[in-house]
Symmetry: C2
Subunit: 201 residues, 2 copies
């Protein structure tokens, strides 16, 4: 039941619900296990659940008209991953979600969430705060994409999530910051060379 505890802790980071409400919510959802490369969601289908990652790591990505994949979000323990557009509006998802490692998640259907919101409206605040956090992250990312160089975006990303370097393939990071894997490779090399020459001088 340790998955459920992680979930409880996640709620308590944001709101102080009644014990009853928390129990109810923590009992919802379905624990699911995924192996590396399993898909939690396939682009074009409707997202029927929101995934709360208990352990492991996933990526959410969009595959464009030219079959190029663009990573939109990574998800580790204690993160929530979902194509919220699809989930809340019932339209086909613009994203796929794929496990990058062995991953355990708790899946919440729309009904689960409706149920808790109807019974314990205190959770409206929880979901609003989650939404807010997701929005803010997106906003920050957009600013970065518009006003920073690829190198700056890379440095900022890995300084904010040092996990990524060790757990995620480099081409996935390249995709996240919006450049080709070759470009990221070159950028890293340029950084190393710059560092060497500046140390010598």
């Amino acid at each position: 039941m340790t998955e459920r505890d992680l979930l409880r802790a996640n709620v308590l980071k944001r709101i102080q619900p009644s014990e009853e409400g928390l129990d109810y919510f923590a009992g919802l959802g379905k624990v699911q296990h995924y192996r590396k490369r399993d898909k939690l969601l396939v682009q074009g289908e409707v997202a029927r659940f929101e995934a709360f990652i208990v352990s492991g790591c996933v990526r959410m990505y969009h595959s464009d008209a030219r079959q190029h994949e663009h990573n939109m979000q990574f998800g580790f323990e204690d993160w929530r991953v979902c194509d919220l557009v699809s989930f809340y509006s019932g339209t086909p998802a613009h994203h796929s979600i794929e496990a990058l490692e062995e991953t355990t998640a708790i899946l919440f259907t729309h009904d689960d969430i409706d149920n808790v919101l109807t019974r314990y409206p205190e959770f409206e605040r929880y979901f609003r705060l989650l939404m807010q956090a997701a929005y803010l992250a997106g906003q920050e990312r957009m600013i970065g994409a518009l006003s920073q160089s690829a190198e700056q975006r890379y440095l900022e990303l890995i300084s904010r999530f040092p996990l990524l370097e060790s757990r995620v393939a480099q081409h996935h990071i390249a995709s996240y910051i919006g450049i080709s894997p070759e470009a990221l490779s070159r950028i890293k090399r340029a950084m190393i060379i710059r560092e060497r020459t500046s140390l010598k001088s």
Copy 2:
């Protein structure tokens, strides 16, 4: 009192609050008038209010380290514009908001919103839905930025908001889609030439 009516209608598009709650909410906020080029918010200050645009038009933009401005959002009648990051977290805003025309807005402070949420928790849902809509829009935009050409982004933007072409300067649109004004000018010319030659053939 027509400003307030627009606000009521906006609420009713999303939730069915008690009459009491709606009256309370519709009475909140302060009507404010801005002239062209007036700033509703200056980057670096804390956003003390969320603006509900009653008439006119504004842009929210980020000014980067090189003093380049990047338009993040436009706002017309019946839209909400705010640096939500700053507003909800109390940190200095990463955006400025500027009136592009004579503009009337209703301004809601954080206290206003806290008050209505405390008294009428039904409004949690309203703000969650707003947040959701804002998030979804951001998500769509990010996908576009990563996977579409500048030309496609331009075409999609003006087909979605035909208002823009007539009411907003071209360089503001260029900034929104993330390219220089020169680049947009060239793209438009290329489109016209393509059209001419395809008509002739």
